[in-house]
């Protein structure tokens, strides 16, 4: 039995200890907003926040997460998709297919939480998620817009 704090709710799940957090979230807890894209920490589609830091959940075994640690997934980032990053994304129509976007948004929100006013080169260096539809320029503009809104460090 594994105990996890996901989006403010304590969950108890049955999973082998080496099961990646990603698959526990998706299959045992039913939070499918967190995506599988590579399984080897390359693409970032599986990004969630662990105690406020962006982690690639495909490469975090569930046994490495303590019950006290706070996991936030895309579903728990905000109440009505009103996190500044989500609002900027909506304003700029960032997503294309959208499959990478949960990870993009979570990575961007974590970046702004740590660095509310990142420079362009910091954004380019820090956001290493893959988007095959090629939304990068709008991702960049979205992060800058969220930062300008002055609430970037929220959540």
């Amino acid at each position: 039995m594994v105990r996890l704090n996901v989006n403010g709710t304590l969950r108890e799940v049955e999973a082998e200890p080496d099961t990646p957090l990603l698959w526990v979230l998706r299959e045992q807890i039913g939070l499918t907003g967190t995506k599988y894209g590579c399984g080897i920490a390359q693409c970032g589609a599986c990004t969630v926040h662990l105690d406020g830091t962006a982690v690639r959940s495909c490469s975090v075994p569930v046994s490495a997460v303590a019950a006290e640690q706070k996991i936030v997934t895309i579903e728990g980032l905000s109440a009505g998709a009103d996190h500044p990053v989500q609002k900027a994304w909506a304003a700029l129509d960032v997503p294309q297919c959208g499959f990478c976007q949960s990870g993009m948004i979570m990575a961007s929100a974590a970046l702004l939480a740590q660095n509310p006013h990142p420079s362009e080169s910091e954004i380019r260096a820090e956001i290493t998620n893959i988007c095959r539809c090629g939304t990068y320029n709008r991702v960049l503009a979205g992060i800058q817009r969220a930062a300008e809104s002055g609430q970037g460090s929220r959540g």
Binding site: E14, G39, V94, P95
Partner: protein, 740 residues
Amino acid sequence: MSIDTRPGSAPAPAPSPVRPSRRGFLAGAAAAAGGFSLGFHLPGTGEAIAAPAGAAPEVNAWVVVRPDETVVIRIARSEMGQGTLTGLAQLAAEELGCDWARVTTEYPTPGQNLARARVWGDFSTGGSRGIRESHELVRKGGAAARMMLIEAAAQGWGVPASSCRAEKGVITHAESGRTTTYGSVAAEAAKLPPPKDVVLKDPKDWTIAGQPLKRLDTRPKLDGSQIYGMDLSLPGMLNAAIRDCPVTGGTVKSFEAEAVSGMPGVKRVVQVGETGVAVIADTFWRAKTALDALPIVWDEGPNAGVSSASIAAVLREGLDAPEAYIGNKAGDVEAALKGAERVVEAVYSVPFQNHATMEPMNATARWTPERCEVWTPTQNGEAALAATAEAAGLSAAKCEVYKIHLGGGFGRRGATHDWVRQAVLIAKEMPDTPIKLIWTREEDMTHGRYHPITQCRLRAALDRNGDLTGLHMRISGQSILAAIMPQRMVNGRDPVTFQGLNPSGPEATLGYAIPNILVDHAMRNPHIIPGFWRGVNMNPNAIYLECFMDELAHAAGQDPLAFRRKLMANHPKHRAVLDAVADKIGWSTKPPEGVARGIAQMMGFGSYVAAAAEVSVSPDGKLKVHRIVAATDPGYALNPQQIDAQIAGSFVYGLSAALHGACTVKDGRIEQTNFDTYPVMRLDEMPAVETIIMPSGGFWGGVGEPTIAVAAPAVLNAVFAATGKRVRDLPLANTDLRRA
């Protein structure tokens, strides 16, 4: 904080992939289809959708107006990120004259299309045809619905329809000042016969189409609620992981199911056709874990000795082969070469590329001896239905495919439905149990439908003035059609190979008038299966032609833009986009210190496109692409801000391949297994992209694909300008750009 102690594996109810609007539609469509049950279950609820009382009837196949004025527009083509859903809805809404703020959309299913005599036309979404091939059908659907709604209102008032008009969903009879709404008369309109003569608006009067509107499908992509095929959850569903023989053409010799059958969650270990083995378990992770531990022995078959080197040798032989299919021929090229002041020659090559859609292939299937249903992300629901019926051993009328939102398509999810076949074969092993098959990224990378591999030898004749008098382009290599659509070949020839190099036609014409020309194709087909990959053959052809034009300009001591323009007098649309990018990048001015420029143009998918790039290369050989200016003339521009997104996106896709991507072959199999060995472009490399959208009207070209082709040659030509190094073997990563 609340504590959830539900037993471990009960999943929280997944959000529904179906908008509520679908309820009414499915009920209506089931009736229209002769009453057979569609058997659709809302994921996570287990409830079949029953016909809700008072559901709004459709006005026609394209339009439903609900009493609350919500307008549901039905979209036959697939949304995979390219904005087709919004674009087609804009067209229908334009003719319908409804309030855009109240528009929502839904997908009809291929089975309904079949049952209704293909009322929605072709479902195929590829070749940038989503909008350009269905715009008329969709617009007529919207216009006919408007006429019926107005007619219904007019009849109610006892006035002629011609005295009424409609705007934003409100119908007005000016004389009497009476008004009503679409929602109020929709039920009456639905009873009327469809109008015979439907007149479409002149695009210059558009107010919804042509506008840079926001996409309709963004919101659920912001909070994780958008359901993709991989996210589907059905009551009682199991999960499967598969391994297909790593060598195409090989088969399963044996596997030891007992070695893994006791592992957690494992239900069954099954062979899939001749070539694959799958593990079915309660969760995907457990299925995959068991599959990884499963000993499988392959018979690798006749291709086990093939390598990239052996394929290259076969293609090289084709460069000089006496026999080749002709794609474009005028004058006498050999005579021109003999009489030339100077002959320039070069050989280029492009490798296999994987689509690497962000969401790996997946499908959920449920099979019984009477019926088979499949839920899958597909670019072509009808082709998916055909694949389902064949694998199920049932008639198409006993099968149905539900299209789930695609996590990228790029051509991988259209022409072949190999993963659907697998899912159905697996489902047959456990009748009446829905089973979701998910490919790992490794399976996806090694079992793609790859961008075809080709080489090209170009030989050109320059006269005393440095003018181009003859060009021979010999393409040697793979044909997509020969492998996956032989029925579309023309006398053994694959016309797609010549994309962008054709002498004439509305689709992909060569933009240069060259007095003596021969473009021919020595078909050489390796065993690796090719497919349509965003941009298709326009990609290599643009690199071959446009990099070589650059070589010729330099050989002739001429400016690359001026050299091209001299050949383009008969091709004003090609020249207009080229001029536009040259102008915007400042071609006639000196670039900033350390920066070099390149330029390219091409026509494909019915659109004229050009790009100009600014790059720099550091002394240690690192390329930086600073800026790309792109121009496109797609005839009509349905949604400029989405075209802008498509162009920037296509550059990422095209440059990922041109700069980094190559799928290589060793021991008969693809060597690259994930993004660590198949690198793609990320934000750190992304250049600024400026787009010029210059629709000249009178034709409908694509937007999702054509521009992709010009990014690579523009950048490669700029690399030459920066370094003097000509990149001819793609990807660029194969060339050492360090200063000697």
